[in-house]
Symmetry: C2
Subunit: 479 residues, 2 copies
Amino acid sequence: MTSLQHVNPRVRGIRVSPQNVLQSLAEHITQEITQGAHKPFKEVIDVSSGDPHRAGMKPVSFVRQVLAVCLYPELLKDQSLPLDVKLRAQRLLEACDGGSVGSYSDSSGLLHVRQSIAEFITKRDAGVPSYAKNVFISSGSQKALMIIVRLLASGEGETQTGVLTPMPCPHTLPTLLDEAEVALVPYQLVEERGWAVHLEELHRAVTTARGHCQPRAIYISNPGNPTGHVQTRESMEEVIRFAAAEGLLLFVDEVYQDSMIGLDREFISYKRVLFEMGKEYAETVELVSSHSLSCTSIAECGQRAGYMEIVNMDPEVMHFVDTMLCTDVSTPITGQLALDLMVNPPKPGDPSYDTYTQETLLTQTTLSQNAQRAVELLNDLPGMSCQPAMGGIYLYPCLHLPSEFRQLAKMLEVEAHVLYCQKFLEEEGVLVGVGHDGGTASSHHVRLCVHVPPDTMEEVLTRLRSFHLRLMDGHCNSD
Amino acid sequence: MTSLQHVNPRVRGIRVSPQNVLQSLAEHITQEITQGAHKPFKEVIDVSSGDPHRAGMKPVSFVRQVLAVCLYPELLKDQSLPLDVKLRAQRLLEACDGGSVGSYSDSSGLLHVRQSIAEFITKRDAGVPSYAKNVFISSGSQKALMIIVRLLASGEGETQTGVLTPMPCPHTLPTLLDEAEVALVPYQLVEERGWAVHLEELHRAVTTARGHCQPRAIYISNPGNPTGHVQTRESMEEVIRFAAAEGLLLFVDEVYQDSMIGLDREFISYKRVLFEMGKEYAETVELVSSHSLSCTSIAECGQRAGYMEIVNMDPEVMHFVDTMLCTDVSTPITGQLALDLMVNPPKPGDPSYDTYTQETLLTQTTLSQNAQRAVELLNDLPGMSCQPAMGGIYLYPCLHLPSEFRQLAKMLEVEAHVLYCQKFLEEEGVLVGVGHDGGTASSHHVRLCVHVPPDTMEEVLTRLRSFHLRLMDGHCNSD
């Protein structure tokens, strides 16, 4: 029998995060409730990460209708389905090998969908051209990032590849870098400036890293996960000039590009900014931008599809992106078709246009209102402060915990914000995300997904308020 | 810009197989035809690997109907859909978080589906119990194998993990082992005994390997890919005793378990044989068995789902299987639901039963008839011999090529069977698989998928016959 000592040391080394422990606790509590245990709450609400359909958000009808017809083409005869649904399904089926969603696709994705994506990007970026050959479909933005990071991974010690990583960062990122065996080079975002990227901090990070590893890429999340920050054009230009000067590949996670908080706010992509900075940058800076089905108003997490666009990469190097995608054989076809629907929604005049627009607008309005309502309430609480979110689906409030509570945590050998999350879960049945600030014990944060129905948001805030005030009251010695 | 020299050496080292080159050539020819080029054939037929829907096989209505309803639950009101379709869709939706296929699942899969799979296995194996906790859903059998191989990978040189691998083996396997950095330890299957596993050869392989690497697992494909061989119970018992004596994990790829050639032939699983050998083996031999949606009569390759069952693995080690599955976040939900339909089809009396049975029986009959017809024809050709297939979807004929042709290949610095495949593709527009016999130049094989519609099979055989006779005629000096 394979013994633990024979397990791949790299696999054994994958960190178990406190979040995993809390997740198990949440499952345990849910089980207790199912078995009739009496709790002060009826069910556990999980707002630790984004899974809108699980939370009760409704799917977009147009997407589901087209996919249903693609799966069961007999529905083309169905009189109750809109004409544009049927036409689109027909067109998508023609794009599938053998006219069936049951066939594999090329490992980089269905050409038709890659073309739709390239057209979408070109339009989004006010005409900056995008080409299907630079668009790679994969099972999600995590996968895309994994491929790029694995591509760059090499060396050890001083020569080990390093990736500049924001602190805080998406909670899955440190494990992903671990697995790819690249060094995480942290750069701190500036909370008091709404979690903005600070140029001097980038310089500090890269300078400090040299000698310990070889920084070869910088990761940016914009709109920010979990910070909710959206960069200004000036800040993006700074990052681009920095990446150019330091010879870094720029990986931008732009999966929340359609989740702007405040409906008048417009998303500007790194690609557009790069190309508007002139040839010196537009033709040299290696840029990879990822987007995903899971993170939009459509929120089809279960379909597993996303894409990345790569510009300015040596074709010989880009070839290996394709090679690595082959390992997955092919991305799920229904997910790929959903990507097509995401980037090419019904147009004015199409039978599905009004319903589509109402449904996605409702989602976006809910998101904005949830975020604004939550930020207000959190900032009204003693011992809590929260930067307003400008985009994305998370809030990342800071906890100013009473010293007695922090001492209790110390005694229990657990970080104070982890203990906070655990008690909140046990006492009020809400699972929030444990903040990850790169091990600086001076500040404590939690992550809160606001892409949930309004009544769920209200319930979470009520329970949070009640728990937090009780905790602050119990430990008067706040600071 | 990232230069080639900075690309991860492990990624750079991934072999480009001659098959990839032929695949590109096939795409090129298809493009030429689209652009109006005159060729002696109207289209390229690809029988190099299994993709039944691309080849024109029909999907199973019950599967597609249930998935369509799950995607668009408004269809529950549709009067034209059978009642059991709607009831099943309702049950499956209840098993999804938030009642939606748009949510993530646990990384090891939906519990409901894992339970269905465990029940299926128990029934298949005449009561040998199977438990949902030992069943792990992933995006396919390739992924399952990758996870187990990565789990075991460690060491270098003499201590590097080795995996006993049949020759011939599934064409994707050597690359997969390469990527996981484990050593491929070849054992030769015995062609003249229908590609049976030979115990003495296993002993030879493991003995030779020791000192070069540390053999830790044996891979078996049964029914065999690409050989079409199905092992006898006695042969399986020999392999199990061998694995037990040598302390090897036994990974059995049983994805073609419902593709028996000859409808009276019954599949026996390794799990069943193991458990019927008594406690000495049943409680000690570490067994992983994989199955996949892509390889059954349902053949939903585009949905990307499969599972593995693990028995006798240390729970502390098995924990890391879960950890590695987390990297993929979750397997596509529609694929998982299709797995449930695969293992739990309509029962006698259900409204969909007759159609389901007719459709799957037609597929199985087609497969059997194709295989038998093709074997006959191939064996009738001069300079060609083919073992009859007992299961699976491939034939693996041996080419006895004229020495002139082999000299030509040598001059062109290409293996003779690769040149054969290339010329067949160029002259007749059929892409077959390049055989992989572990680099032994003495024998030449090609791989032929027979899971295609009967008229496609007929067309392939006609073109093959014509090409092969021409080639043999042109080089009279056969041996």
